[in-house]
């Protein structure tokens, strides 16, 4: 006799999913920033300008592996069996976004570290390197040891930059696809979530970079880019909502979570007002009046980027297919 067991008869699944917590929201936020930093760094090396970058801009690529490690720590903390995580790397499932993600995360490390090293050497190498003090001997030792590797990397700089660009994009998109492929949760079940997360991640990365002492030219470039990214993100959010509104009853009731339901106030105030509209106006006013973009709008963009992931993770789990779900 074959017994049928319903997977829904479970405390963590019904009446609403309680599987992912703050760790995932933080990981998605940090992952988005890392993706954006890698894309920007890749683009910087692909479209080289004769003017050298500021020291802060040259060192920012290091945040990619650093923030990713922090994000992966949160991801690891969320696992039910954290010490089985190595099994992800024993297999590759083409149809599983999580498997893709695991391998993308692994590939991000060498690529981002290599480009960060080249970027640092360009800024600090030669006369700019620390010549005295406790760091000079370590610096000397490192540069000598890595001279051969560095030579090879410089010879393949375009390829390295391209790999950062592609891996960064893949990382940004995969976080959205990971949620988007989950048909059981209609709020996430949209192909637009991938591009939305990539664009939002790039916008957050531009804002994150603006927190550091960049040159005026770099600040203006990032401010302009962020302005465009915010506009694109608003468009994607609108399309995502239109997609849900024009789909079946489950999608419509999922959308109702942010258009009248319990996530409405937080979504429209933190994501739309604080994270998109106010920074859009602020950055536009700054650029229109010839001002150098400051940090206030950047902080708001970061708050908005985090709120988007936080709300999507929790509201998505509250959405579902049963008719009473929207009332919960």
């Amino acid at each position: 006799m074959t017994e049928l067991e319903s997977g829904r008869n479970h405390l963590l699944i019904d009446p609403s999913l309680h599987v992912w917590g703050w760790q995932i929201a933080l990981y998605l936020f940090l992952g988005g920033i890392v993706a954006g930093i890698m894309v920007f760094t890749g683009l910087r090396f692909l479209g080289r300008t004769p003017r050298p970058p500021s020291l802060a801009m040259a060192l920012i690529p290091w945040f990619a592996p650093l923030l990713l490690s922090l994000g992966m720590l949160f991801l690891w903390l969320d696992l039910e069996h954290p010490f089985n995580a190595w099994r992800f790397y024993m297999v590759f499932q083409v149809s599983s976004p999580m498997s893709w993600g695991a391998w993308i995360l692994l590939a991000v490390y060498p690529s981002s570290v290599a480009l960060a090293w080249v970027s640092t050497r360009e800024a600090l190498g030669g006369p700019l390197g620390p010549r005295d003090g406790p760091w000079s001997s370590l610096w000397l030792w490192l540069t000598r040891r890595l001279a051969g590797v560095e030579g090879w990397l410089r010879a393949h700089l375009r390829g390295l930059a391209l790999s950062n660009l592609l891996l960064g994009s893949a990382l940004g998109i995969y976080t959205g696809i990971l949620l988007g492929t989950m048909a059981a949760r209609p709020l996430w079940n949209s192909p637009l979530l991938g591009p939305l997360f990539l664009v939002s991640g790039m916008s957050s990365a531009a804002a994150f970079m603006l927190l550091y002492p960049l040159s005026e030219r770099e600040r203006v470039f990032l401010g302009r880019t962020d302005l465009t990214l915010i506009l694109v993100e608003m468009g994607l959010l609108f399309l995502w909502m239109v997609g849900l509104a024009s789909a079946g009853a489950a999608s419509q009731s999922a959308l109702a979570l942010v258009t009248g339901g319990p996530f409405t106030a937080s979504f429209w105030s933190f994501v739309v007002a604080v994270g998109l509209v106010v920074p859009l106006v602020a950055e536009w006013v700054e650029l229109r009046h010839g001002q150098v973009p400051g940090r206030s709008a950047a902080v708001l963009v970061l708050i908005g980027g985090f709120a988007l992931r936080w709300i999507l993770v929790f509201a998505g789990q509250a959405s579902g297919w049963s008719s009473e779900m929207a009332l919960m």
Partner: protein, 395 residues
């Protein structure tokens, strides 16, 4: 009478919450543009060098008073739905004094501190942290010291309006306040001129400040509005409506142990034996006396044998929210105490029926645990006389 614009109709509680965002943004914007994000200017008020705060606040009070009178007379605002702070005179006197001390020390009040912080001023950030620490300290202290708790609760807790407290008709009081405002605006100009020489000019003071003549003209205009309002035949305010509440909705509210909820059973004798959990059996003629003790803003659910009264008796307090239990006691028995046979319903409705049956089992005693939160105790007698929430006034 036209349909009132206030209370505003919202699709859900979250939209209502969200409506605070644009209002707050505009309020902050106006305060900032008025220079109220600058602690120096606010502090100058206490040295009588710059009376802007006094003038603006008095103008705001006058505007609100006249606006409310006018809109209510035009039938655009239903005052019974307005939240009015209950009066705890001793507590508010002490609290007001402490707020004043903090105001002088920091040069900011809570509202302007937020505005000032949004302008990037670090002193405002410190002031806000102080506010948070003060609130947290009070919350801890009120539990530790009974005398503090006694002070916190000192006063009537009733909504007390100036015309009632002084026994003066609202029109006379309104005109008197306008008269005081005219004198105060003229006096403020004189005080400012006298004290401005005693210190350095206040930074950030905009040059074209409203002249006293303008304020006097505005006050006279307001008096005209008041006279127009008074000229209208006084129409008796409409009695508050009784909004229906479904038995299951009330059951859910009881399970959530919703605060500020009072249930009155008006059936008389039969209410003594069985009634909705937490309901008070009370005769209709005695209800007004009981309701007078309930803080404003509480929700009162009323029911009778097989229906709920559709109109509120004229002697019942107007600042309460009245809701009538649909179907009365019979409706409660039929919808909450009687389980539904699940087989009669389609697959889509089964979830709702299951929930209804959980509630039914809980209230009829078949299930000991409440369906929503297994750890919550069964609903105790919930009275509207629970500790009333005080709301801060602020500026």
């Amino acid at each position: 009478m036209s349909t009132p614009l206030f209370p505003l109709a919202f699709g859900s509680e979250d939209w209502r919450l969200l409506s605070g965002l644009p209002v707050g943004f505009l309020f902050g914007f106006v305060l900032e543009r008025g220079g109220f994000g600058n602690a120096r200017r606010l502090a100058a008020q206490f040295y009588l060098r710059d009376m802007t705060v006094f003038k603006v606040m008095f103008t705001a009070i006058l505007t609100a008073m006249m606006g409310l009178f006018g809109l209510e007379a035009a039938g655009l605002v239903d005052r019974s739905h307005l939240w009015i702070n209950p009066t705890f005179l001793p507590a508010q006197a002490v609290g007001g004094f402490l707020l004043g001390v903090g105001f002088i020390l920091s040069g900011l009040c809570p509202g302007t501190a937020v505005v000032s912080m949004a302008s990037g001023r670090l002193d405002a950030l410190v002031a806000l942290l102080g506010i948070v620490v003060g609130i947290a300290g009070f919350a801890v202290g009120v539990d530790l010291f009974p005398s503090l708790e006694a002070l916190y609760q000192a006063g009537t807790g009733q909504v007390s309006l100036l015309p009632d407290a002084l026994g003066v008709p609202p029109l006379v009081l309104g005109l008197a306040i306008l008269g005081v405002a005219v004198l105060a605006f003229l006096g403020a100009e004189k005080v400012e001129t006298r004290f401005q020489g005693h210190g350095s000019p206040v930074e950030g003071t905009p040059s074209p400040r409203p002249r006293a003549e303008f304020a006097v003209a505005a006050a006279l205009g307001a008096a005209g509005v008041l006279a127009l309002v008074a000229a209208r035949p006084p129409s008796p305010p409409p009695p508050p409506a009784v909004e229906p509440v479904a038995p299951l909705e009330l059951a859910e509210a009881l399970i959530r142990r919703e605060a500020g909820l009072l249930i009155l059973d008006l059936r008389g004798e039969s209410a003594e034996t069985e009634r909705v959990p937490g309901a008070h059996p009370v005769r209709r003629e005695e209800a007004a006396g009981l309701l007078a003790q309930i803080p404003a803003g509480s929700t009162v659910v009323i029911y009778d044998g097989d229906a709920a009264p559709t109109e509120v008796p004229p002697d019942w307090p107007r600042l309460l929210r009245y809701r009538g239990l649909q179907g009365g006691w019979e409706g409660w028995k039929r919808e909450v105490l009687t389980p539904m046979p699940a087989s009669h319903f389609s697959l889509e409705e089964q979830g709702r029926v299951a929930r209804q049956n959980q509630i039914s089992a809980y209230f009829s005693g078949a299930s000991p645990a409440p369906p929503a939160a297994a750890t919550a105790p069964p609903p105790a007698v919930i009275t509207g006389g629970a500790t009333p929430k005080k709301k801060g006034g602020g500026c």
